[in-house]
Structures are given as structure tokens and as C-alpha cells.
Amino acid sequence: MAAEYVSPFDDRVRAAEPLAPRPASVAGRRVVLLNIRKNRGAEFLDRMEALLRAEGAQTARAAKEIFSKPAALGLIDEIAGQADLVVEALAD
């Protein structure tokens, strides 16, 4: 039986998907600060939250279950239901 060889490389061409449209300003917008749960991330987001509030944003906090996996889709849905904007940090 002739062997069929398949390239191990993932050569799929991926069409570039667009980003979501941006607002002109964060003022009056609800920003969720998503902590990936690495050490120092919460403090970094504390500062980021203060800076965003100074710009007139409303803020809320969320956190992934664990830094090494994507956030559960349920959490993404929950955030999407309440957020206008998201800042995710801190990957090191």
C-alpha cells in the first residue's frame, strides 16, 4: 500500500478578521479590567483602574481561573455582557 505523506506544518491561510470598532474616548464607557492571575497583575490593574477613572471611565474587575489557559467562554460572555472595553493584564 502506497504511503500518503502529509505535511506536519500548519499551512492554513487565515483571513485576517477585523477588530471591533473603537469609541472616540473612554469617558462614560464601562471598562472591565481582566486579571490573568499572574503575580503583580492585580496591583498593575489597580493603577490602570485609577488612571481610567481619572479619564471618566466606569470600571469593574474580573479574573480568569488560571493564567495558563484561555478564559472560560462563560466568563468572556459575562464580560461582554457588561463591558464596553477591556484591559487584560499582566503577562510576563
Partner: protein
């Protein structure tokens, strides 16, 4: 990156913050996930041993880029 892409799919502008050595990983992951325009901003590495004041300054320094990532129009 997965999280940022999922949020953008749902119409939520998102920005990630990472330390600089992870830039090429983030760029490659964004490409593999089909959203090469995903926005991530970078601060100097390392951060683990920074004092509270030093970490705050990293946040202060990168904040204009965070605002830009959330508000600048997409191409």
C-alpha cells in the same frame, strides 16, 4: 491572546498588557488566531521584583498606549 480575540469577536474592543520579551509570541498567536491586528501593549521586563512605586510608574508610562489601543480607529 485567545481572550482578546474572543472579546473582539463579540464587539468589545480589548487591549492586552504584556512585558516586552513576549511580543513575538503575542504577534504569532494573534496571527494563528486569525486576528493579526489584535492590540497588545508592552512594558519593560521584568516586573516581579519591582517596588509598588516602580510598578505604578510602568502603568503610568504605558497608559497613553492603552488609551490609544482602546480608542484609535481600526484600519
Amino acid at each position: 491572546m485567545c481572550d482578546l480575540v474572543h472579546l473582539e469577536h463579540r464587539g468589545i474592543p480589548a487591549v492586552g498588557v504584556a512585558t516586552a520579551p513576549f511580543a513575538d509570541e503575542a504577534i504569532e498567536q494573534a496571527r494563528l488566531l486569525g486576528m493579526p491586528g489584535s492590540r497588545v501593549v508592552y512594558i519593560p521586563h521584568p516586573v516581579q521584583l519591582l517596588s509598588a512605586g516602580e510598578l505604578d510608574r510602568r502603568a503610568d508610562d504605558i497608559f497613553p498606549a492603552v488609551l490609544a489601543a482602546l480608542t484609535q480607529p481600526t484600519p
